[in-house]
């Protein structure tokens, strides 16, 4: 036993798969301890906030202020405010004012503004300019001048009794706060989803639930498949015929169709994560049963089984001690594959809207389902679905890698 474990941990593929999988497991276990927020808590008012660090505006105004005189501060401020459309409008004006096109660089904010202040004249008309366009240029000029002023803003508070606005202080453009001193800063590494939930917290919780679904489904499927396979392979005869008839029925009906039908007929209210796991388990045991059966058939006529019979052991004893240990490695590998395909089946069901009830737990499939319904993929909100896809891919990849590694250890013909 010790030797086998040593051999398993010498297989490169197994080690890579195992470390990916344990990392995922560790994150799933440790993350909720560090950030104990309820995963389905709606924190954002609005859909799909971008990933980033969110600093409380209110708190930063009342935080200690520092003056930093940075040269590029104004330019950066304007650069972020000047949209693509505004820059193109400026370019249009400059060309109309007779500046050669080659001298205009719309990405170089400083140069562009210098040219603008030299050439802009509110009284001037450029050919073909409508009244609306003229007003637009006036507004644009005002905005730019406002951005460049260093007078700052004043903070006023409304007096509760008189209703008069009282000035409390001013904020100059060179005032800074230290983020560490702002009491309310929220990091949203993966932004928020369509409901305004923190995607990362939700993703971790969803991974946990999906892994649980996978494990429950895998264990159920393996147990059913193993029991039926052992029975039909070892006992043979009529038992074999009956079990194989049922198994072949299940093979002919695609299990995913069966899964959809069962999930649908259970109804939205009854579908918890555990129910879905059971449904997946009950529809995916077929190949395990067939594979175990064929292994048992080749084992049951071996001499050691005959010897065990001659020693007067019962059928149950023979199955447990003379058959099961010989196929144990195979069953473990089948279990790993069943778990990963259970996770995929849940994702598939949930995308179709037949997964667990949406209000209780997040699962990887449900997150994809929400992202799809709210058109995250069309709106380009990658953080709502891409991390989920990566997580599913990593889980199945690591499990398949572990399986291949185990296969190489147990099947000497496959060793490199």
């Amino acid at each position: 036993m010790k030797q086998i474990i040593q051999q398993i941990f010498r297989s490169g593929k197994f080690i890579v798969g195992f470390s990916i999988f344990t990392t995922i497991l560790l994150v799933v276990i440790v993350y909720p301890l560090l950030i104990p927020d309820p995963p389905l808590n709606i924190i954002g008012q609005g859909t799909f906030f971008e990933p980033g660090i969110y600093v409380s505006v209110f708190d930063s105004i009342s935080s200690p202020q520092y003056t930093l005189n940075l040269d590029e501060a104004a330019a950066k401020r304007i650069a972020s405010k000047l949209g693509e459309e505004d820059r193109l409008a400026i370019k249009e004006w400059l060309i109309a004012s007779g500046i050669p096109e080659g001298e205009i660089e719309i990405e170089n904010t400083e140069k562009l503004l210098d040219q603008w202040f030299e050439n802009y004249d509110p009284a001037k008309n450029i050919p073909g300019m409508t009244n609306a366009k003229r007003n637009y240029f006036i507004r644009l000029n005002k905005a730019i001048t406002g951005l460049l002023s260093d007078e700052g803003m004043s903070i006023t508070v409304k007096n509760a009794e008189t209703g008069v606005l009282e000035e409390k202080g001013t904020i100059v453009p060179s005032a800074y706060v230290n983020v560490n001193e702002v009491p309310n800063v929220r990091v949203l590494p993966l932004g928020t989803d369509n409901f305004g939930r923190d995607v990362l917290t939700e993703l971790v919780a969803a991974t946990r639930v999906s892994l649980q679904i996978g494990f429950v489904a895998g264990i159920i499927a393996t147990l059913i498949g193993l029991t039926l396979g052992l029975l039909s392979g070892y006992v043979g005869g009529v038992v074999d015929d009956v079990i194989m008839f049922i198994t072949n029925l299940f093979i002919v009906i695609p299990s995913f169709v069966l899964l959809i039908l069962i999930s649908f007929s259970i109804g939205q209210d009854q579908r918890g994560a555990f129910t879905i796991a059971m449904v997946i388990g009950f529809t995916s045991w077929v190949w395990t049963a067939r594979a175990v059966r064929s292994q048992v058939i080749s084992l049951r006529n071996r001499d050691h089984v005959n010897l065990s019979k001659l020693s007067g052991h019962s059928v149950v004893h023979i199955i447990l001690t003379d058959i099961l240990p010989y196929i144990a490695s195979y069953v473990v590998m089948a279990l790993i594959l069943q778990i990963s395909s259970g996770i995929l089946a849940e994702a598939g069901l949930s995308i179709l809207g037949l997964g667990p009830r949406t209000t209780e737990v997040p699962t990887l499939g449900l997150m994809m389902n929400w992202a799809m319904i709210y058109q995250a993929h069309i709106l380009g909100k990658w953080w709502a679905y891409f991390p989920v896809i990566i997580t599913i891919a990593l889980i199945t990849f690591s499990m398949n890698l572990m399986n291949t590694g185990l296969d190489q250890v147990f099947n000497p013909a496959l060793r490199d």
């Binding site: 001499d303 050691h304 005959n306 010897l307 065990s308 001659l310 020693s311 052991h313």
Partner: protein, 270 residues
């Protein structure tokens, strides 16, 4: 002589057919035989002649298609597990391939303890069991202290087959069925294995059925010989009758196939 010739195991019209319809194979075809108590019988035939199938039917490991087996003069009844277990106290086997005869997950102690338990010794004190296992191992010149807590695959083929004999020593069955017990063993261990087998037979007086393709070995050990060809017994009788004065062409061919070290081999007929 008369009371020595007591019937032990006999068969009437024993047949085994594998498969159904057009693909059926007749492995054993209506064979009749009488094995007497204390006799050493050899069943000789080429591979595929149905020897092992016959052995498995005699052991009750596979069902018979037709015919009856009589054990100690009575019709054999092994329809329930209890009756089978009772039958297997009387008939035991040594298989051809020692490497596949053991469950690789069980230690050697388990193999021998199973035999003691089968003889109803499950309540014996631990020391007594160890004494019995030590005695059985020393019978075949193995040291139990060295084997305890070892796995069968840590032994050599010869040692494994000797352990098989130790197993039979503990079980003391009325009939031993040895299915080519030496064919997977190298030539030097072969003689040792046979010696232990014959020693065990002489001590216990059990009926021994050798199944072999080696007619020389059959002549060396047996009282009577059955020659099997394509599922039928073509010739039977005492060892001297069959091997010294063969009547059937098949038997003659088997005898001629025995390689003779001092003669030049004629490979042109191969």
């Amino acid at each position: 002589m008369a009371n020595q010739k007591e019937l032990c195991l006999s068969g009437k019209g024993l047949t085994k057919i594998f498969g159904l319809g057009g693909r059926k194979t007749v492995a054993v075809d209506h064979v009749d035989f009488d094995f007497y108590k204390g006799e050493v019988v050899s069943i000789v035939g080429e591979s595929g002649s149905g020897k092992t199938t016959l052995a498995k039917m005699l052991l009750g490991l596979i069902s018979t298609t037709e015919g009856e087996i009589y054990f100690l003069g009575e019709k054999r009844d092994i329809r329930t597990h209890r009756k089978k277990k009772e039958y297997w106290k009387n008939i035991q086997a040594i298989f051809q391939d020692p490497f596949s005869s053991y469950n690789i997950f069980n230690k050697i102690d388990t193999v021998l303890l199973d035999c003691i338990h089968m003889r109803g010794g499950s309540r014996l004190p631990r020391a007594k069991k160890i004494e019995m296992m030590t005695e059985a191992c020393s019978f075949v010149n193995l040291k139990f202290e060295e084997l305890t807590n070892k796995y069968p695959f840590e032994l050599s083929g010869g040692q494994m087959q000797r352990l098989m004999i130790a197993r039979i020593f503990l079980l003391k069955p009325k009939i031993l069925l040895a299915d080519e017990p030496t064919s997977m063993i190298d030539a030097s261990s072969r003689a040792t294995i046979l010696d232990y087998l014959m020693k065990l037979r002489n001590e216990t007086g059990m009926t021994t059925i050798f199944i072999t393709h080696d007619i020389g070995l059959a002549y060396y050990v047996s009282d009577s010989v059955y020659i099997m060809e394509r599922g039928r017994f073509v010739e039977s009788g005492t060892a001297d009758e069959v091997i010294l004065y063969p009547r059937e062409a098949y038997t003659k061919r088997l005898i001629n196939d025995v390689p003779k070290i001092y003669e030049e081999w004629d490979l042109s007929t191969v």
